[in-house]
């Protein structure tokens, strides 16, 4: 049975294909269109998935959309009615936005793919999150918690999933918290208030929080209060996201927290104003964590289960995930590599396969590498045309040379195999560097990532050595499989891991097993022989404002435009040779 899952229209659209119950490919549209967080209908992603699997659209048994568009429209219309007459400005925009394309999903899918309308199915948004979290996790029976900004109406759901011995699968969502009361919207509102982009820059708030103290927790608790049944409710007087598209927070919010940050001004953490923003970030982060931990703890007590599957955009908050693991009573916490809306494409397809069609459960390979493969020959050709130093090396030599480069302080762009599905670069489209000095972190920020000084870089470590350098609670290395948790760096190693240790002594670590990325694993071993530590800095191969690269030519253009010293794609290695860009400009001018 061939089932295509699609997520689209809000942010980070994607497609995923499962054949006979097993995923064969999945990719975000942005990785093919090269437009970050591309929300358009993922036609390129769909075409690539079908090509990759070698099937025609008419061979699809179902196409599953990740949410119910009319239910979502119901929420948008109802919110406009509830906010009458303040919503008069937002109403025409919301209607034009929804009625233009977003509610006609069945027709759009039918016309693009030529499949009959009856083959188009719809899951609920949080069902898709739940399925993406539970059905990809190596667990038989687990509690499920999903949380994001908003789906149709739900913003947070709890439930449980079970793989039964007879092969049947059950996912039961028990209850939900409904819009506008939303942890995701709370965090996004602070993201906007702190001058960052909503739905894109939430992780910057988490990074900034490390520099602050949670001195405004009481104020944050004024805007989000706990309800007697253990849920929460936002005080809507402080928000405007439910009435207008112009601004997320109200004037009262500004009265409470002070003037919002000008997005075009850098944050100066030495100034009182900069510290206020950091404290604000730390405070909302603390409240988010406390709320999630409380809800997860209550869920553990209610279900008595040992495993928890977390889904939804809020599950990208590694600090909160680590606290949930440490404090909620669950032994293991599973977060998929793509817990956000992109992952819903895979979740929706799996949900339809296991629940709607009742197919027998199959294990889902426990890795994030579902995208297009890189072609080293393409890199060899284009870099050769530019007169770069290009080598095609055997495996052993390539690993040795790369380890030498890293030990010598060079920055290496590392491309191998299939592209990651999800927002993290987990070793197939990564920038690697020595993790020891703060100078390396500053160089990466200055010459490659062009980003704020307060944002940390992540380490990748061999799983066998992970405990030596990082303080994992029980079950922590599982959370670190896909870089989903933030854990303390052991004090004895912080000096030698400066480039990957955040200001608060933590790191969003990836604990690597050989099976998941064997080449990177071997590279870490080779690096250990040279440096004494099987730890590398691992950040995504992209520049600011661009999606993670997919093809070798995109890696090459990133390499040319930044301070990366070496580019590796499969067996091809390129060393940078001067500034070809400027030379060419002078020639032609």
């Amino acid at each position: 049975m061939n089932i295509l899952g699609i997520s689209a229209h809000y942010h980070d659209s994607a497609a995923a294909l499962i054949v006979d119950g097993v995923p064969v490919c999945a990719v975000q549209e942005e990785r093919l269109s090269r437009r970050k967080s591309d929300a358009s209908f993922p036609l390129s992603a769909i075409e690539w998935c079908l090509d990759h699997a070698g099937i025609q659209p008419d061979a699809l048994d179902a196409v599953v959309f990740y949410e119910r568009p009319m239910l979502k429209f119901d929420r948008i219309l109802t919110c406009a009615l509830r906010a009458f007459p303040q919503s008069w400005r937002a109403f025409p925009k919301a209607m034009k936005n929804s009625l233009g394309e977003k509610v006609w999903v069945r027709g759009i899918i039918s016309s693009h793919l030529g499949v009959p309308g009856r083959k188009v199915l719809f899951t609920e948004h949080h069902q898709s999150h739940a399925a993406a979290a539970f059905l990809t996790a190596p667990t038989r029976h687990a509690a499920i918690l999903t949380s994001d900004g908003v789906g149709e109406w739900a913003t947070l759901t709890v439930g449980h999933g079970e793989r039964r011995p007879n092969g049947a699968t059950v996912i039961t969502l028990l209850r939900e918290i409904r819009f506008p009361h939303s942890l995701g919207m709370l965090y996004s509102t602070f993201t906007a208030y702190l001058g960052f982009k909503v739905n894109e820059d939430e992780y910057k708030v988490m990074g900034l929080a490390g520099y602050g103290r949670p001195t405004m927790v009481d104020k944050v608790r004024q805007v989000i209060r706990r309800t007697p049944d253990g849920a929460f409710a936002l005080d809507l007087d402080y928000f405007e996201f439910h009435t207008t598209a112009r601004r997320s927070y109200s004037s009262r919010f500004v009265e409470l927290f002070g003037p919002a940050r000008n997005p075009y001004e850098p944050i100066d953490l030495e100034s009182a104003e900069g510290q206020r923003f950091a404290d604000c970030a730390a405070s909302v982060q603390r409240v988010l964590e406390d709320t999630l931990v409380d809800i997860a703890r209550a869920l553990q007590q209610e279900t008595g289960l040992r495993d928890l599957c977390l889904g939804g955009g809020v599950a990208l908050n590694g600090v909160a995930n680590a606290r949930v693991l440490a404090e909620s009573g669950f032994d293991r916490v599973f977060v998929p590599p793509a817990p956000g809306d992109a992952g819903c494409a895979l979740g929706a397809a799996l949900y339809a396969d296991r629940i709607h069609f009742g197919n027998t459960d199959r294990d889902v390979p426990d890795h994030p590498f579902w995208g297009p493969s890189v072609d080293g020959a393409e890199l060899k050709r284009i870099a050769g045309e530019d007169g770069q130093f290009v080598d095609e090396l055997d495996e052993r030599t390539l690993i040795d040379r790369t380890a030498d480069d890293l030990a010598a302080g060079r920055i290496v762009a590392w491309m191998e195999g299939a592209l990651e599905f999800g927002p993290r670069a987990l070793g197939h489209r990564s920038i690697l560097a020595a993790p020891n000095s703060a100078g390396m972190r500053d160089r990466l920020n200055r010459e490659i990532k062009y980003r704020e000084q307060f944002r940390p870089f992540a380490p990748v470590v061999l799983i066998e050595a992970a405990d030596r350098y990082f303080e994992f609670p029980a079950g922590g290395t599982r959370l670190a499989r896909f870089m989903s948790g933030v854990f303390p760096v052991r004090p004895a190693w912080r000096e030698r891991l400066q480039a990957v240790t955040h200001i608060d002594g933590t790191a969003r670590v990836q604990a690597l097993e050989r099976d998941m990325a064997p080449r990177l694993y071997t590279l870490l071993e080779a690096y250990e022989k040279r440096s004494g530590m099987p730890v590398l800095l691992n950040t995504s191969l992209n520049l600011a404002g661009e999606p993670i690269v997919n093809r070798a030519v995109e890696g090459y253009s990133t390499f040319l435009r930044s301070g990366i010293d070496v580019l590796v794609a499969d067996q091809t290695r390129v060393m940078k040779r001067g500034s070809l860009l400027m030379k060419r400009k002078e020639d032609v001018a």
Partner: protein, 237 residues
Amino acid sequence: MPVHRWIWRDADRCVQKLLRFGETEIDGGRDILRAAEVTSDSLLRRLFMVHATDEHRHGVLFRRRAATLLRALPRQAMPAFQADWLAPGGHGLDDLRVEEESDDTLLAFLHVSEKAAASRFTVYRDALQHDPATRAIFDDILHDEIFHMNYTLTQLVRISPEHHRWHLWRARLSRLWKGYLRLATAVAGVIGAVLLTVQYFIILPPFAFLAKRAQRRERPGWSPISPERNGSLKDEY
């Protein structure tokens, strides 16, 4: 010219314009970078890469200048009215699908766009006599635009010696057509917004009353999910 002088003398409008230019340049740069990644012509790839880097730099220059001017402005509750109902066009490569263009049509498009941008930026530069810092940015960018105009034309002639004039005319006509489409879309958008606003105030009040009454009955906190909701996937509701 007097209109431009008036616009650029208004600090708030000046900031908004610079920010918008910044966005347009950076977006355009991304599209040109994409062109560099999809072309099979190695010389063009390198030139597009240079061009994309320039556009990105222009975007950063505009943004930095806007940020500096913004710092000098008093905090305002409401930004000044901007005629933003018309989608930005011209220098930005909006509605261009780089992957679907051939090298020659893309070069012709770029040449025409760069030429138009250069003439517009010249007007802006001349209107900025009172603001030497912003004027210097336009001067700097105009220098790059000349290079962009030259290389796009040179390369177009190289790869399409027989048909380069035809490509240029097609690009001009396409630009005109896109301009018309932008205007038509904007007018349709305004008409749509007016009609929807009228409906909002005429049709919605009784439904708004009912919705508000229903909302008052809702209790915040957990809502149970009925087992039927985990059932059929055929409904869009």
